[in-house]
């Protein structure tokens, strides 16, 4: 009876893995990682370069064999139903450089032919705003167009789950925005998306839920709003003064949750701006400090990551 229930739960999940481990030489790329992703969800693995995101997603895609752990995709396992699973998934790798000699349509048509069923390549080109580039050689495309082609190829088999590894890395803001709209469209059709990214804006905009990954482990998980709320400091005050204040000075102010310093700037997490900013100004005034800059922003996933690890997402 209890076994049946467990079965039912795992079938209902789009992606489930437990205790994933993978080492490359001395490096533990993935070090005991569990995930449960529901159908129709857009799930993000957020973390800095080298956190193990790519290894994790490639294990889930069945391209890398884990050293330990258990993977179920759509209730199936890789060893047993490989071809059936492949027909139901779409994959975009971190960097694929398609053959430059083929045209956009030829490449998409090739990928379509690899799937037993799927979408009409002409329609897919329209969906990804590539119809004008239909007969252009891939070598002549811009970075954004190539990435849209990669996504089109991943969609050629009309997949139930779309795996996207760093789908917008290196793209200009406009191309990024264009791709985000495509992913949102796919998700709106009730499909599941798993993406990795080190752009917090991307995770905040696209993902229903996010797992923050560092050193091959998940260090926090939840909706972006939950994670940010978990800071108890929804606003960040950024300022510099001469002479500078000390950490003790800042922690004594009302509503200050944490503070950190980069060069001569302070980043102070506060519960309420209307409370903290006047108090800060008064403290500066009393100490005879001159305010050099002052700005505030709402806390982001970046701040969540920093408060969890003490490091920044993009320090490469």
């Amino acid at each position: 009876m209890s076994e049946n229930t467990a079965e039912a739960v795992s079938v209902a999940l789009a992606i489930r893995c437990r205790g994933l481990k993978k080492r490359f030489g001395d490096v533990r790329a993935v070090d005991g990682l569990d995930l449960e992703i529901r159908p129709g969800e857009c799930f993000g693995l957020l973390g800095p370069n080298g956190a193990g995101k790519t290894t994790t997603i490639e294990i889930l895609e069945g391209l890398t064999r884990p050293d330990a752990g258990d993977v179920e995709i759509l209730g199936r396992r890789w060893g047993e139903h490989e071809r059936e699973l492949r027909a139901r998934l779409g994959v975009s790798l971190q960097e694929t450089r398609f053959s430059e000699k083929l045209t956009v349509f030829e490449m998409l048509d090739l990928f379509r032919s690899l799937y037993p069923r799927g979408r009409d390549p002409e329609r897919l080109l329209e969906d990804l705003s590539l119809e004008e580039k239909r007969d252009a050689r891939i070598g002549k495309l811009s970075g954004g167009q190539r990435q849209r082609l990669a996504v089109a190829c991943a969609l050629a088999g009309d997949p139930e789950i779309l795996f996207l590894d760093e789908p917008t890395t290196g793209l200009d803001p406009q191309s990024r925005l264009q791709l985000w709209e495509k992913f949102e469209g796919f998700r709106a059709a009730g499909r599941t998306v798993l993406l990795t990214t080190h752009y917090m804006e991307e995770a905040e905009r696209l993902c229903d839920r996010v797992a923050v990954v560092d050193h091959g482990k998940i260090i926090a998980q939840g909706t972006p709003a939950e994670l940010i709320a978990g800071l108890h400091a929804p606003h960040i005050v950024e300022f510099a003064s001469d002479p500078p204040l000390s950490a003790e000075d800042l922690k004594a102010l009302p509503g200050v949750k944490d503070c950190r310093r980069r060069d001569d700037r302070w980043f102070v997490g506060v519960a309420s701006l209307v409370e903290a900013v006047p108090a800060l100004l008064a403290r500066l005034d009393r100490g005879g400090s001159k305010l050099l800059t002052l700005s505030t922003h709402r806390a982001t996933l970046e701040d969540v990551f920093i408060s969890l690890t003490g490091r920044e997402l993009r320090d490469e």
């Binding site: 694929t96 000699k101 799927g118 088999g157």
Partner: protein
């Protein structure tokens, strides 16, 4: 929407398109063998043997040659004013032999040079005949100029074999290593594609060019040099097909694990350069010592060249090419099987 192509056809088609849009590749497959045949064909064309240059020095009236020029079609004589000038010309290879005109005549030459020994025979023969020598045994020369016995006739099947090897190994090897480097190979393994379809597609795309390649090289040989095709054209094509499949297998094997283009091209050279030299492309493999013959005969290019020559030049039938055919098939099947086993998809 239109029904999608079967994966194998689509993969083959994509590879063919990629190839014909690569101008360098087209050059190496079609233009290079023709240029090579053209250059070598002219270098070794039938124009009669070159005259061997010999020098005559010193003497004047007291030498035995005084007043009697050397009469020989095979010789070109150059007079030197002093012995030292003549010896200098001999040392620098401008002449093959120097006759020092005195009594007795002195021949200066390097006996390790074949043309010098030929010159020694020709010069002495001309001088002795001019002096009235009569040969005790009567002989008569008959000269052969039949097509099929010239160097170009020997060379053309060799170039065909060489080209089938080159395009098979390079064409397949580079295609695969490139796809691996660009990660399209990895991306394709994430689709439901059958891995064997991918490898077969590579081989089929080669066969697509095979017919063109053979047609171009043979047509060139027949039209430009009148090279004969004495045996069955069908048999010739069948051997070329078998050879091409065999080299495609080798190409797959060479590319099975290589992670960089440099590694792959090193391996390809390791496989191909010995065969360029040993397998009787430019000169007969019979020239190598007997001890090495079993090894040389077992090389796929030797087998292919032997078979192509047997059919083209000697008009032989199936029985004569059975052994080379078995050798080629064995290479092809073994390398394909090993390649499939050790292939690295990522």
């Amino acid at each position: 929407m239109s029904k999608p192509r079967p994966a194998l056809i689509a993969l083959t088609r994509a590879r063919v398109l990629e190839f014909i849009r690569e101008p360098e590749a087209v050059f190496w497959v079609f233009a290079f063998p023709i240029i090579m045949a053209l250059v070598l064909g002219f270098a070794f064309r039938d124009k009669g043997p070159d005259k061997v240059p010999v020098g005559i020095a010193g003497g004047g009236s007291e030498g035995l040659l005084a007043g009697k020029p050397l009469r020989s079609d095979a010789l070109k004589t150059i007079e030197f004013a002093t012995l030292e000038e003549g010896l200098q010309a001999l040392r620098t290879g401008k002449i093959a032999l120097l006759v020092e005109n005195r009594d007795p005549l002195v021949y200066h030459f390097d006996p390790t040079r074949p043309d010098a020994r030929l010159a020694r025979l020709e010069v002495d023969d001309a001088i002795q005949r001019a002096a009235g020598r009569r040969d005790p045994v009567p002989v008569k020369d008959v000269e052969m100029h039949e097509k099929g016995s010239r160097y170009i006739d020997f060379l053309l099947p060799g170039i065909l074999g060489l080209n089938l090897m080159g395009t098979g190994i390079w064409g397949i090897g580079f295609g695969i290593v490139n796809a691996r480097l660009k990660k399209t190979l990895k991306l394709m393994t994430a689709t439901p594609m059958r891995k064997s379809d991918f490898l077969l597609g590579q081989i089929l795309s080669r066969l697509f060019f095979l017919l063109l390649e053979i047609a171009v090289i043979l047509a060139f040989g027949v039209l430009a040099f009148g090279v004969p095709i004495r045996g069955s054209l069908v048999l010739l094509l069948a051997m070329a097909l078998l050879g091409s499949l065999s080299f495609a297998g080798l190409g797959l094997l060479v590319a099975a694990r290589a992670k960089t283009l440099e590694a792959a091209s090193g391996l390809m050279n390791l496989v191909m350069v010995p065969m360029w030299l040993l397998s009787g492309v430019f000169f007969s493999a019979d020239r190598f010592p007997n001890a090495a013959q079993p090894l040389i005969r077992a090389l796929p290019l030797t087998a292919l060249n032997d078979a192509l020559r047997a059919v083209m030049l000697e008009g032989k039938g199936v029985a004569a090419i059975a052994v080379p055919a078995v050798i080629l098939a064995a290479w092809g099947v073994t390398s394909f099987a090993v390649a499939l086993k050790i292939f690295r998809w990522q």
